[in-house]
């Protein structure tokens, strides 16, 4: 489905969850849906279970989970919660500025 591209994707996202808690499952589904709907083909999403890699919690300053970190584009944003508030997620990811206004073309 996804176009093969040599250009790094516009959105670099990492979702940190803790095991298979209801919030974790919901956060994964919500994030995937939002990405597919608004950022299709322009994102890279990694899902990390902090239980499996506890040392990452320290290096990435994970406190509250689920945590979604937007590494790119700048500025870095940290979103906590199960991502059920789509509007807030989009606002925090600054989706309109970066994507919507450009009619799907970036920059």
């Amino acid at each position: 489905m996804r176009k093969k591209s040599t250009i790094t994707p516009l959105y670099v996202l990492k979702l940190y969850i803790a095991g298979a808690s209801p919030n974790s499952v919901r956060a994964i589904n919500n994030t995937k849906n939002i990405c597919e709907k608004y950022l299709k083909g322009k994102y890279q999403l990694d899902i990390i279970d902090v239980h499996q890699q506890p040392s990452i919690a320290k290096s990435e300053q994970v406190v509250a989970v689920p945590l979604l970190i937007k590494f790119s584009p700048e500025p870095i944003k940290r979103l906590i919660g199960n991502m059920s508030d789509t509007e807030k997620v989009l606002k925090a990811l600054a989706v309109d500025e970066n994507v919507m206004n450009n009619n799907g073309e970036y920059r």
């Binding site: 808690s21 919690a57 320290k58 300053q61 870095i76 906590i80 199960n82 807030k88 997620v89 606002k91």
Partner: protein, 495 residues
């Protein structure tokens, strides 16, 4: 089952209950040493093992240091690895800040005995988008604890989370869960908290920690600062309830329990010389008791220092070390002045039998003076201590504080069988017996000598009177004396 035998009339369930209580007492309440010197005496053994302890106090009162010492001493002295979770300072800052106290955190980290985790929560970066919990923090802490087998944990200051996370209801529930989780893990946890306006901590953490709460306080009275500590509660254990002064110095925190000493020291029967043979004859047994407290009072220029130097000298001659605390004269000045009346103390200073420590009373607070004194006592191990004069300490503390300090001092001296001589300057216009220092100490002194200066027919007459001497009879009349280049000469009574 001796209870059953003793009380055959007691119903069975009461007997069972008594046996149960007895066993509990025997198994006891497990405590772990706090690593803060002096605190374990107040708490009868330290912190409750495997439970959370809350340390609260206003900014700058030493909470972080307290927590750091708990961790570091736990590792170095009791072989209990520790995790320090800092919500304020970075690992680097923390290590730098405590390096002045001789705590080498980096070394302990390299030895896998210590983990420092700096938790940073920046509100401006965070957006809340639904339900969440603090599982990330649990995982982090759990990982750090498990990686080194930690027995001690510090959370400094967990209330910082309230600044970064909006949902305080959730945060409270999670913090409560965290404390329970730490309890289940069996780690002894010190949690620090900033003092609130009407509560012990800003966010009311004391509601969640009911085992042991310690309050630190920092007060400035008459421009001299004193730190104090109080145990607000300690469930399931007896503890001292007073406010105890504590010190932060080059060795970290140490608490001075004022009243923890008991009146159970042994009293010696050995007699030691006053340093002045004619004066020895005034006492029925020929001198002072060893380990006694001697008080020498008198107005200015009544030869208090000379009399105390005689005593110091007699100790030196017995090859017993003397620690001389001078609040008025420098060591050189003392040597010179004594030479003028034929007393040479210099050789004893050189042979390390006499140590003169001179400092201004106002240089530091009372507690600092006490600490310096105690440290010198521990290092120098003197058999005799002279404090000349204690009345200048009055200038830096209230009478009750000075009295409390002197009581402690005297107790420490007694326990260690150290002879102590205190001089006190009294106001000549006042009745000696109503002077504040005399009032504070006279009842504690074993021997009290009062010196007087009177002018009669254009001539100054010096006199000496033994006011009291516990445990032996003494001469009851005043004795005149002169001071010439051979020292003090007691004059025979010729009236």
């Amino acid at each position: 089952m001796d209870i059953e035998k003793k009380n055959p009339q007691l119903p069975l369930f009461i007997i069972k209950l008594e046996i149960k209580m007895k066993n509990q007492k025997k198994n006891g309440f497990i405590k772990t040493p706090s690593g803060i010197s002096g605190l374990d005496e107040i708490t009868n053994g330290g912190f409750p093992k495997g439970r959370p302890i809350l340390i609260c106090g206003s900014a700058g009162c030493g909470k972080t240091l307290f927590a750091t010492q708990f961790i570091v001493k736990g590792i170095t002295d009791f072989n209990e690895p520790g995790v320090f979770m800092s919500f304020e300072e970075t690992s680097k800052d923390l290590a730098q800040n405590v390096s002045s106290l001789g705590f080498d955190l980096n070394k302990l980290i390299a030895q896998d005995k210590l983990r420092i985790d700096h938790v940073r929560v920046e509100r401006s970066e965070i957006e809340e988008t639904g339900e969440y919990d603090l599982e990330g923090l649990f995982i982090r802490l759990g990982h750090a604890i498990d990686s080194i087998g930690a027995k001690r944990v510090v959370l400094d200051t967990i209330e910082s989370l309230f600044a970064g996370i909006n949902n305080t209801g959730l945060l409270r529930a999670e913090i409560r869960r965290l404390f329970q989780w730490l309890r289940d893990k069996g780690v002894t946890t010190v949690i620090t908290g900033e003092r609130g306006e009407n509560t012990l901590t800003r966010q009311g953490l004391e509601e969640y920690i009911s085992d042991c709460v310690i309050l630190l306080d920092f007060r400035v009275i008459d421009q001299i600062a004193t730190r104090r500590l109080r145990i607000v509660k300690y469930r399931g254990s007896t503890h001292g309830t007073n406010e105890y002064p504590f010190l932060i110095d080059a060795n970290g925190i140490s608490v001075m329990p004022i009243t923890s000493l008991k009146l159970d020291y042994k009293s010696a029967t050995e007699i030691i010389s006053t340093g002045l043979p004619p004066l020895d004859a005034f006492f029925q047994k020929g001198g002072y008791y060893r380990g006694g407290n001697i008080l020498v009072t008198g107005s200015a220029g009544t030869a208090k220092t000379i009399l105390s130097t005689y005593f110091a000298l007699s100790s030196c001659k017995r090859k017993e070390r003397v620690l001389y605390f001078s609040f008025e004269e420098s060591p050189d000045q003392l040597v010179r002045n004594m030479q003028s009346i034929g007393i040479n103390i210099e050789p004893y200073i050189k042979s390390n039998l006499l140590l003169i420590h001179a400092s201004r009373p106002t240089l530091q607070g009372l507690e600092m003076h006490l600490l310096v004194l105690l440290r010198l006592v521990n290092e120098f191990k003197p058999k005799t201590i002279i404090i000349d004069p204690i009345s200048s300490l009055i200038t830096i503390g209230s009478t009750s504080e000075v009295r409390a300090m002197l009581v402690r001092l005297m107790d420490i001296f007694k326990v260690n069988q150290i002879n102590a001589l205190f001089t006190s300057l009294t106001n000549p216009k006042q009745n000696e017996y109503s002077d504040p220092t005399v009032d504070a100490i006279s009842s504690l002194a074993d021997t009290w000598i009062n010196l007087k200066n009177e002018t009669k027919e254009n001539e100054r007459i010096r006199s000496l009177l033994i006011v009291k001497s516990r445990g032996m009879s003494h001469r009851n009349n005043e004795c005149d004396f002169v001071i010439n280049d051979k020292g003090i000469q007691l004059l025979p009574k010729n009236k």
